[in-house]
Amino acid sequence: MDSAPLLDVQNITKRFQTADGVTTAVDGMSFSVAAGEFVSIIGPSGCGKSTVFNIIGGLVGDYEGRVSVAGDVVAGTHPAIGMVFQEESTFPWRNVLENVAFPLEIADVAKQERLEQAAHFVSMVGLRGFERHFPAELSGGMRQRVALARTLASKPKLLLMDEPFAALDEQTRLLLGDKVLQIQQALKQTTLLITHNLTEAVQLSDRVLVMTYRPGRLKRVVDIDLPHPRNSEVVSSDAFGHCVAQIWQDLREEASRGIQEDESRVLHAGAKR
């Protein structure tokens, strides 16, 4: 593994103006991701994970700190970063092959060549035979695989994923995790995954960054020393259980704090009325 960081996040802070005043979503987060590494950011709901995703992806500006990828400071969306979103994001008017070929079409790759490349990525995510199907004809898991193949087709240096399997059932999620691991290992794809799912984070990652509940800060970094290559069978191992327990300790505190703060906010809002 190359030790030079591909992604370097330095002291990022993001504040939002809300009806109750200024809210700090992310507060002074710093971390880096080395080339070829798979890192997950985990935290309770509302801790600012998606804000981190949007800042690194260049979808949100006006923040403090610095994000650089492959040495370039990120100011807006960056060609080295490919994003997979939490919501279903395939284009319903394009079939699977056309969806996956989309970034190549934007890059003006010749039609024949882009279709060949797209077919390669479709096959990589295990959707060979579905090239001419439209998203409406596919399951949620298949649609997310199309979105993943489309992002991979843009050949990003950093694959940035925001809870891509959040809407799927646990079994599908585990099996898709296998697929992501296979692809990541085959392409040596540097990946940053945002998730609130502990099993997913430990199953896939080399390192897990645990965030605090609002404002989002980096609470702890956990190295996952599970052997490679991995698949979903790893979840039944003792080592896996140990890693999960270790992270859950921190996550539990933050999730409890989040629930308490949410409850007291609702009570205060009710009292004001």
Partner: protein, 255 residues
Amino acid sequence: MVAPWARSQAGARLFGIASLVAAIALIESLIRVGVINRFIVPLPSQIIAALPRIISEENVLHRFWQTTQELLWASLLLAVVGIALGALLYRFRILRLACETWVGALAAAPIVLAYPLFLVLFGRSATTIVAIGFAAGLAPVILKTVEGLAATRHVLINVGRSFRLSPAQQFWKILLPSALPSVFVGLRLGLIFAMINIVGVEFLINFGGLGQLINELAERYDLPGTYGAICFVILTSIVFFDVTQRLERWLTPAA
């Protein structure tokens, strides 16, 4: 429980035709027994019998083509100008806030009554008819275009941003394809308004295609001929509906 034959497309078509035939037969019998006055509504059998006559003597095919041409031009203008204005209103929020209510009001306005103004502007010509048809159909195209563009899911726009699309690429590759189903609803509504107004103005200014023919036949109190000509108006409407449906299916194959 629905019978299997009724679930098939051919079965549905057959049912539609059978319903039409049954309705015609009902009207025929109501007229024959005197429930409906035959001096106001002619017998459907008389209308059918009048069709060959109005085709050969009243040059109805030529008039049908004239009305179709006017509707074609109005449709083209509606598609180009209506979608462009809708996109403009979507793009500039201030413009949308300022104009959307007015455009909505335009949809309800009886534009056909302003035909003297159009006559002054364009003269007694096909241009007047096309202009009125266009003005009458414009509002729904604009409104449904704005609605379709505004309903584009934010995540799709973010996908475009993540691939660094230019504003023009965002529009052509994401916003417009996403809005197309709504745009076609607007176009179909616009076509209905345009069609009604085109035939109405042809009738009022006694110029052009099927509207003028209906006017002439009504003046002669040729009721079967008048109703026969109205059948051709309906035919024009069916043709245009079918064409837009095919176009929509071609442009949005996933729908």
